[in-house]
């Protein structure tokens, strides 16, 4: 069985358009176990109920931003090992370095092509 059949992914983005685009791409890669949340707190709640292998989260979200979500994940004993990919409009040094310190696995700049996202994911989990 290929990795794409086994991998559980959680997509977090407050904007339904960009969330839709990510979901669309994952669907295209054949990743079947995808869930989504529109903000950090509800993503954490959902992950506590049912964990995932990888979180793909937007940076720019109201309330809890992507890095705050990453921080919360790494603080949680049960969720600390989850892979984390940050989606950001600006690859500002402060954001990326902040993510690096928190153990971000990879990031991708918006806008991205579907294949960029695939490369970004595969760099973390291996070939889908």
């Amino acid at each position: 069985m290929a990795l794409r059949d086994l991998l559980h992914v959680m997509v977090v983005d407050d904007m339904s358009t960009s969330r839709g685009l990510i979901l669309q791409s994952l669907d295209g890669f054949g990743v079947r176990n995808v869930r989504y949340a529109s903000d950090g707190p509800s993503a954490l709640q959902a992950l506590n109920t049912q964990p995932a292998h990888l979180v793909i989260s937007d940076y720019n979200m109201p309330g809890m931003d992507g890095l705050q979500l990453l921080h919360a994940l790494r603080q949680s004993p049960s969720l600390a090992g989850i892979g984390f990919i940050l989606i950001t409009g600006k690859a500002e040094r402060s954001i990326i370095e902040g993510g690096q310190k928190l153990g971000m696995n990879n990031f991708i700049r918006k806008p991205f092509e579907s294949k960029d996202l695939l490369n970004c994911i595969e760099a973390v989990v291996g070939r889908l």
């Binding site: 069985m1 290929a2 990795l3 059949d5 086994l6 991998l7 407050d14 904007m15 339904s16 358009t17 960009s18 969330r19 839709g20 685009l21 979901l23 669309q24 791409s25 669907d27 295209g28 890669f29 054949g30 079947r32 869930r35 989504y36 949340a37 529109s38 903000d39 509800s42 993503a43 709640q45 959902a46 049912q50 292998h53 990888l54 720019n60 979200m61 109201p62 090992g81 892979g83 409009g89 600006k90 690859a91 500002e92 040094r93 990326i96 696995n105 990879n106 990031f107 918006k110 806008p111 991205f112 579907s114 294949k115 695939l118 760099a123 973390v124 989990v125 291996g126 070939r127 889908l128």
Partner: protein, 733 residues
């Protein structure tokens, strides 16, 4: 369930989302302007613009990306505390928001953006960006992705699979095409393919409909055997196939007993042509052997590599709707977007339900069942439910007027800039909910009224100062629910209506007789006369060939009324009163000369028996009703509508007192009152034109068609045409 193009759907939802983001941005800017902004307000503005940029980038909307990028950078300056959001800056932000909104609309409609409109503001924004911000834009490039240890013992390793595929001669007759099959196989990994030409006969012996080529394939893949076999599923028995693995797949322990049917279909390059994969494959894939001209494929080994199984553009089998239907942990928002057509349909159906319920009630009433019978009781509940459903359905379409008001704020800004009058724009009651269709159709008339208020209503700054007012004019737009209607007011604190001038112009235009004595209200009403314009030189703003008469017409089309009040030196107020919805109406069913008519309850202040001693005649045709120390005009509906000639005596009739916004306008004589009920408004056909005093039609419980009266309009018409002889509307039988 597959939608034709999921991308188009996401694109459409992006533009809907943009409207929401624009609203958030406008809100934030309004707060910034009010000075009560905290960091979060700036954040909200920034996020709104940033999110638009993100989406725009995904759809390649370059104009939108470019503008929002600059805009976002300046907002970031404010966020970083490097730029003070003073009045001028916020004004620039507002202008930028207007332009951003334009660009969104142009992008949505695929129209080019006029650089002359965008560039100046873009430059103004750029001027506010500090060097530090430019520096910050330098991006990180040295990030090393961190691989993740997954609990599956790592992804399955690649292995080499040797395949020999030799179709039987009759393969083509089964409708199979080896090219498609080989393409699908290529998508599974890295593929080397060598055609075997040994069975190709000489040209004279060639049967063009028989397959004669075979292929040796070396596939490097991490896919399991089942998936490879699946590729050949449809040619089973039609070919000789051998699959030989050089190295046993590490992934095998991971798939115990998984039926191959449960696997997702391998993306078939022939079915969903991927721009990435296809051209390369068509160059190297062995040509169709049924074509003898090209029947000899190049002998060199074609090496193809499909980088991934996914098509380059996400052409998914599942629509985003289906994706959303997955067990999502959190709904993205507690809202759904519904096609307005569907709601439209629901509204119509509920309308039919109301009519049907009324018909049923009537039949039951005619059957003479006792009131305590289960049928009558059940019907009562049914009636209540129908009403609740109706209210709920109407609520679906109800929207706060806020978005409309925000659009009008822009009109104020634009007009203010164009005529050089500084204006403060105040809105009240933005949360007031009105039917969406009403809101949409209000945009044009309100736009015109707002332009008028700035252009004509407000004095020039110097004149205002001379009159002891602040130089900045004030336009107030308010919305409120009042006695089952929505009242929207456009108020200015200008000089008020110059009545002598209005009267003089009306005389000049021959609209009124010279020297005619008129009340203030009558003079104000002249503004609504067709062809009336107080501006000698048509200004390029309000004078767009649309007068207040057109405004009034569009309001009336919505079942609304517009009135003016003005006091010299203090300002003018236009008041629009509208029904909450266009679909239903609480009405009183009355009988006039055997015809059933519906009078909106909202317009009836009181009903009373006709008493001869309360009636006074003034002139041959005009009668007035004496009521509580005052006199109001009295009209016989039957005569007004041309249903019958005037009666000798109206004894036994009923009088309806007609009121508008609490002011009694007059009285109508009807023969009898039948009942009070909700009716579904059915528009009159265009062919009727604008029948004075008639608003619409409806279908009553017994299936009879009845006209819905606009009593206020009727009183107004009767007032302006004293002694009219022309019947308003003749019965058609």
């Amino acid at each position: 369930m597959t939608t034709p193009d999921p991308m188009a759907e996401i694109r459409a939802s992006f533009f809907v989302e943009c409207e929401e983001l624009m609203e958030a941005l406008q809100d934030g800017l309004t707060m910034l302007d009010g000075g009560d902004a905290d960091d979060e307000t700036v954040n909200i503005c920034f996020r709104a613009v940033h999110s638009m940029k993100g989406g725009a980038g995904a759809f390649g909307l370059d104009d939108l990306v470019r503008f929002s990028h600059r805009y976002e950078t300046v907002l970031d300056e404010v966020r970083a505390g490097r730029l003070e959001p003073g009045h001028d800056v916020v004004l620039l932000f507002m202008r930028a928001a207007d332009i951003l909104s334009d660009i969104v609309h142009y992008s949505r409609d695929g129209l080019p953006v006029d650089p002359d409109k965008v560039e100046p503001t873009l430059r103004e924004l750029e001027a506010l960006i500090s060097d530090e911000a430019e520096e910050e834009e330098a991006e990180v490039t040295d990030f090393q992705p961190m691989t993740l240890a997954l609990p599956f013992g790592g992804p399955p390793a690649d292995r080499v699979v040797r395949i020999r595929f030799a179709p039987e001669p009759d393969l083509f007759t089964s409708g199979n095409e080896p090219v498609h099959l080989l393409r699908a196989l290529a998508a599974l990994g890295e593929m080397q393919i060598t055609p075997d030409l040994s069975e190709v006969p000489t040209l004279d012996a060639l049967d063009p409909e028989a397959a004669c080529l075979a292929w040796e394939i070396v596939l490097t893949t991490n896919r399991d055997r089942a998936e490879i076999e699946e590729t050949f599923e449809f040619v089973e028995g039609l070919c000789k196939l051998s699959i030989c693995e050089e190295q046993s797949g590490l992934s095998l322990p991971c798939l115990p007993g998984l039926p191959p049917l449960a696997m997702p279909p391998a993306p078939d390059a022939g079915v969903s042509p991927s721009a990435e994969v296809r051209p390369r494959l068509t160059l190297t894939a062995p040509p169709d052997c049924s074509d003898p001209e090209e029947g000899t494929p190049p002998p060199d080994t074609a090496k193809t590599h499909a980088p991934q199984p996914a098509p380059a553009t996400p052409i998914a089998v599942e629509s985003p709707v289906a994706t959303a239907a997955r067990p999502a942990t959190t709904p993205p928002k507690a809202t759904v977007r519904v096609d307005l057509d569907r709601i439209e349909r629901l509204v119509n159906l509920v309308g039919e339900l109301v009519i049907n319920q009324a018909m049923l009630s009537q039949s039951v009433a005619q059957a003479g069942l006792p009131t305590n019978s289960p049928v009558v009781q059940g019907l009562e509940d049914f009636m209540q439910l129908t009403r609740d459903i109706q209210d709920s359905v109407m609520m679906i379409r109800a929207q706060p007027v806020k978005s409309l008001f925000q659009r009008l704020a822009r009109i104020v800004r634009d007009t203010s800039a164009a005529v050089g009058k500084p204006v403060r724009f105040v809105t009240r009651g933005e949360a007031t909910e009105v039917d969406k269709t009403v809101i949409e159709r209000l945009a044009d008339p309100l736009t015109h009224m707002i332009r008028n208020a700035v252009d004509h209503g407000l004095e020039r700054p110097e004149a205002r100062l001379a009159a002891g007012k602040p130089s900045e004019g004030c336009i107030t737009l308010s919305a409120a629910h009042r006695s089952g209607r929505v009242v929207i007011e456009v108020m200015d604190d200008g000089g008020g209506i110059d009545r002598p001038r209005v009267q003089a112009i009306a005389e000049e235009r021959g609209l009124i007789d010279p020297g005619q004595a008129m009340t203030d209200a009558e003079i104000d009403a002249l503004l609504f006369m067709p062809g009336f314009s107080t501006v000698k030189q048509v200004s390029n703003l309000s004078g767009r060939g649309v007068g207040m008469d057109v405004v009034r017409k569009s309001i009336q089309d919505l079942g609304g009324r517009v009135s003016i009040s003005s006091s010299p030196g203090k300002g003018t107020c236009f008041s629009i009163s509208l029904p909450l919805t266009l679909a239903v109406l609480d009405g009183m069913v009355v009988d006039v000369a055997g015809e059933a008519l519906v009078v909106p309850i909202g317009a009836i202040a009181e009903t009373m028996a006709y008493r001869e001693q309360d009636i006074r005649s003034v002139g041959p045709r005009t009668r007035v009703l004496h009521i509580r120390d005052s006199f109001v005009p009295l009209l016989d509906l039957g005569v007004e509508l041309g249903f019958r000639p005037a009666k000798e005596s109206n004894a036994g009739s009923v009088v309806l007192l007609v009121a508008n916004e609490g002011e009694t306008l007059g009285a109508l004589i009807v023969d009898a009152i039948h009942e009070q009920r909700q009716v579904v408004i059915k528009g009159l056909q265009q062919g009727y034109g604008n029948a004075p005093g008639i608003a619409a039609a409806t279908i009553l419980g017994d299936g009879q068609v009845a006209l819905i009266l606009d009593p206020v309009d009727m009183m107004a018409k009767a007032g302006t045409r004293p002694g009219q002889t022309q019947p308003a509307l003749a019965p058609t039988g």
